[in-house]
């Protein structure tokens, strides 16, 4: 085991071998320790996980990268990553900076006995199991990660951040006759064991929500006025819109938003951000995995597209500023342009007035999943449930609903945004089909004049 100071010294020595005027070079040490507890009807799994590794890379017209576990393999870098004698004219210099910072949670999970953590999970399980015999399988998952990343490059970056991330997922599976369904609860952030504060007061609602789904009806199919809850609003901001703003897609000539900077992409009501520098959210950090300080991207202002989301190389080539969106799942995964906390700014309406103005429509709740279409600007997001809206009132509970169509059409037909507080939902985001990083997305309730929905 090596101390932080020793690792830093090794990394600096390696980095100093590569002259910045000839090539950009960086190296990341990534260490994660985690605990995961999962309880179901038939199983209880407790996993302790300690992982660490290094990834070094250099840019010589293309990236060359090597990743490995053991510090004794640092020498591999010298043999695998070539030194250039040519002048680097592509990668913009960002300058070096120093940081050594840790997020301190209110209740540090490291100070809680493992027995107490398991007991908490078992208590939740037992409550849900006893609540109603139709809850046949309560699934509870608790995860805590402590991520430590040390970053050094040949521009003078010397950075370290330690970030705890905690998540809870509760999914009571309900069954009656041949019908099986569920609702779920999830919470997470750069927080500690306080994630369980007041959980006892939420369990009845969580259980009842699952039982209610047994009576839920199938959604309408076709184009209807819809309202999206903050989870679903976030899925639109992130999955449908945000992925098209990742500037690597622009360089690939694969973004439907490529030629729309300073143009109208959404209704005047829309302000959309990506901000890794918000405190204590699951998608937050002090610096990204290429040493860029976290900032705030104002992506859409009053419906006008302001900027793309960048990493070092896209910002260099497209002449923009990177604000901390170069991320890796781990040392063993690729670095890509990634979102962090992506959201719509709340508006001025109340949810009640938004519902009251719909004669026949649907409220989509509980964002479930979505898929990007960066080239085509298509949209697919699915909610776990919803409510029919009839004559200005929320009526029948509906099963899972899929929303699809064109992202830009949907954004331009937003006609109300609620003034509820910003709500960010934690999740894991893949780049296409792999490379998962923690993120949040959200907003408040938004209303769309008309959109295509079907049972999901």
């Amino acid at each position: 085991m090596h101390s932080y100071e020793e690792i830093l010294l090794f990394l600096e020595e390696t980095s100093n071998d590569y002259k910045r005027e000839n090539q950009y070079f960086d190296i990341l040490h990534d260490e994660t320790s985690s605990l995961r507890i999962k309880k179901t009807r038939s199983d209880e799994i407790i996993i302790n996980n300690n992982q660490s590794g290094f990834v070094g890379r250099t840019f010589i017209g293309k990236w060359k990268e090597i990743a490995f576990n053991d510090i004794s393999d640092l020498e591999l870098i010298k043999t695998k990553l070539p030194k250039s004698s040519e002048h680097d004219s592509i990668m913009k210099k960002n300058g070096g900076w120093k940081l050594n910072k840790e997020v301190i949670p209110q209740i540090d999970p490291q100070n809680i006995n493992i027995e107490d953590k398991i007991e908490k999970v078992r208590e939740i399980y037992q409550y849900l199991k006893n609540y109603d015999e139709r809850i046949v399988n309560p699934i509870i998952v608790y995860t805590e990660d402590l991520s430590s990343r040390i970053f050094v490059n040949n521009e003078g970056c010397n950075l370290r951040q330690i970030i705890p991330r905690t998540r809870v997922f509760i999914q009571p599976i309900a069954k009656e006759g041949s019908i099986i369904d569920f609702d779920y609860y999830s919470a997470g952030g750069e927080i500690g064991f306080e994630i369980f504060d007041n959980i006892e007061n939420k369990l009845e609602k969580i259980a009842q929500n699952s039982l209610d789904m047994l009576k839920a009806k199938h959604s309408l199919s076709g184009k209807f006025p819809i309202i999206l809850d903050p989870d679903m609003t976030g899925l639109i901001a992130h999955e449908s819109f945000g992925h098209g703003l990742e500037a690597d897609q622009v360089l690939r000539d694969r973004s439907y938003l490529k030629n729309l900077i300073n143009k109208k992409v959404a209704s005047d009501l829309c302000n959309i951000y990506d901000a890794p520098n918000i405190e204590n959210e699951l998608g937050s950090y002090f610096f990204d995995d290429e040493g860029i300080k976290s900032g705030k991207n104002f992506l859409v202002k009053n419906g006008i597209l302001q900027d793309f989301i960048h990493n070092r190389i896209t910002a260099s080539i497209l002449g923009s500023e990177a604000k901390g969106n170069g991320r890796r799942e781990s040392y063993a995964h690729s670095l890509n342009v990634r979102m962090s906390n992506t959201y719509f700014e709340p508006g001025d309406n109340t949810l009640e007035e938004m519902i009251s103005e719909i004669k026949n429509g649907v409220l989509l709740c509980r964002g479930y999943f979505g898929m990007e279409d960066p080239l085509g600007g298509g949209l697919q997001v699915t909610s776990k449930k919803g409510y029919q809206i009839e004559n200005g009132e929320k009526t029948k509970l509906l099963k899972s609903i899929t929303l699809s169509g064109s992202v830009l059409e949907l954004l331009k037909s937003i006609n109300a945004i609620s003034k509820d507080n910003l709500s960010l939902k934690p999740g894991m985001c893949g780049k296409g089909y792999e490379d998962f990083v923690p993120v949040t997305s959200g907003g408040s309730f938004i209303r769309v004049e008309k959109a295509l929905i079907s049972p999901g």
Partner: protein
């Protein structure tokens, strides 16, 4: 094949006087090239090891299982991991569990010698083929892509003298091919895991993907229909069937009372048969043994529409007092999940062309946005990305957009035609199948 690191871990465990343990040790080497348009954007190499230690503490009718995942072979860290694992085994409380013993195993070839010898050369060779295939495509070009060669050495030892190892090689690639005409843009974007180099067929695949992209340029919205007949491509079929079947056929779902399948009940059309086969030549998850050391085998899940067998790992086979079917698959975190290995659907007796020709009005869908059915309920709703409208037995026009929705559990009963042609897709070898009673909305 012996492994010094595995022996070191076992020595440490034994010196801690631990009686019941298993050690799963994994060495992974990845060689990757990423492309931006027709150029190489990055070259990446990853060399890593992981070990997973499980320690059991018997508690009468129950068992405590400790599980740690580590990657450090330093004495101090190994000792910490073992200590932590012991602690977890004392706290954990699950149903009765013990490790399997030695069994006879089928020997199958999982690795290609030339890849083991020269992985970088092999990767570069196929990247050259990819680039040349792409450069020869008409009216389409790539926006990005990836190609990877994977080498994986797996070792498993336990206190019952089980001592297993296997070496596997396989490929991954992802490409987005774009077609452009006047102001219109369309793409075909897909991934594939392929076990054997003979099944890579990069040139043919790129041609097919490019044709899908070009056809999408002319795509129209589908006609809405409430009782639509839809042909699923093997790839789309995998996305639909695998999550739902693997869940409902598992011993776990049966024990948890969440399975919709009852043995010997009719759950599918009488033409529908599906087999789980952990030894299947060319299957991504093929291996002589599963993640716990039980032999992989061939298990008929559905035969002529009747649900015949569940799949079991060690835990659920102990609960049901039967022999494991070798369906304990190791997750990346080291836990065991009771799920499928490879799924195989036998060929039908009609070609895809003949299927299309028999359909008066319907849809042939190659790819959706993300079908992702709910494993519990089987329901799904997804946007159509690449497909065709069928009219009077012909592909009338390409379609894109609109929603395809339905329920996988219902689809099994509404299977109309199964093609002669079959294709590999990750851990599946499936034909094209036409299903009735699906919903297309716009």
């Amino acid at each position: 094949m012996s492994n010094d690191n595995l022996d070191l871990l076992e020595k440490k465990i034994i010196s801690n006087k631990i009686e019941e343990y298993d050690i799963y040790y994994l060495e992974s080497n990845i060689y990757e090239t990423q492309f931006i348009q027709e150029k190489i954007e990055s070259e990446r190499e990853v060399n890593k090891i992981n070990y997973f230690i499980r320690i059991l503490e018997q508690k009468g009718n129950n068992t405590g299982i400790g599980l740690v995942k580590g990657d450090s072979l330093k004495d101090k860290q190994i000792n910490r991991d073992i200590e932590k694992c012991k602690t977890l085994s004392k706290i954990n409380n699950t149903t009765k569990y013990y490790f399997p013993g030695k069994n006879p195993y089928n020997q199958i070839i999982l690795a290609e010698e030339n890849i083991l010898k020269n992985p970088l050369d092999i990767k570069n060779k196929y990247c050259d083929i990819l680039l040349s295939s792409i450069n020869n495509l008409e009216k389409t070009k790539p926006s990005f892509g990836k190609f990877r060669v994977h080498i994986q050495n797996k070792f498993l030892k336990n206190n019952n003298k089980l001592n297993l190892n296997s070496t596997k090689t396989y490929f991954f690639f992802e490409f987005a091919l774009k077609a452009e005409s006047n102001d219109k843009l369309a793409e075909y974007w897909d991934i594939e895991y392929v076990k054997n180099s003979k099944d890579l067929e990069l040139e043919e695949r790129m041609k097919k993907w490019a044709n899908n992209a070009k056809d999408a340029l002319e795509a129209k919205l589908p006609h809405p229909k409430k009782d639509a007949t839809v042909i699923f491509s093997p790839n789309l079929l995998k996305d639909a069937l695998n999550p739902v079947l693997s869940f409902h056929a598992s011993g776990e779902a049966f024990y948890d009372k969440t399975s919709s399948f009852k043995l010997e009940e009719k759950i599918a059309d009488e033409n529908f048969t599906i087999i789980d086969d952990g030894l299947f030549e060319g299957g991504l998850n093929s291996n002589p043994w599963d993640g716990e050391g039980n032999p992989h085998q061939k298990t008929k899940l559905i035969e002529k529409g009747i649900f015949k067998n569940r799949i079991f790992d060690q835990k659920y086979s102990i609960l049901e007092n039967i022999i494991s079917t070798g369906n304990g698959i190791r997750t990346s975190e080291g836990s065991i999940t009771n799920t499928i290995s490879n799924l195989i659907i036998p060929s039908g007796n009609i070609s895809l062309e003949e299927i299309i020709s028999t359909i008066k009005e319907g849809y042939f869908i190659e790819k959706c946005s993300w079908l992702n059915p709910d494993q519990f309920t089987g329901s799904f709703g997804t946007e159509i990305r690449n497909g065709y409208y069928i009219k009077n037995g012909n592909l009338e026009n390409p379609i894109k957009g609109g929603n395809l929705s339905g329920n996988v559990l219902d689809m099994l009963k509404n299977c109309k035609y199964i093609s002669k042609e079959r294709e590999y897709s990750e851990n599946s070898y499936f034909p094209y199948i036409a299903f009735s009673n699906l919903n297309i909305s716009i």
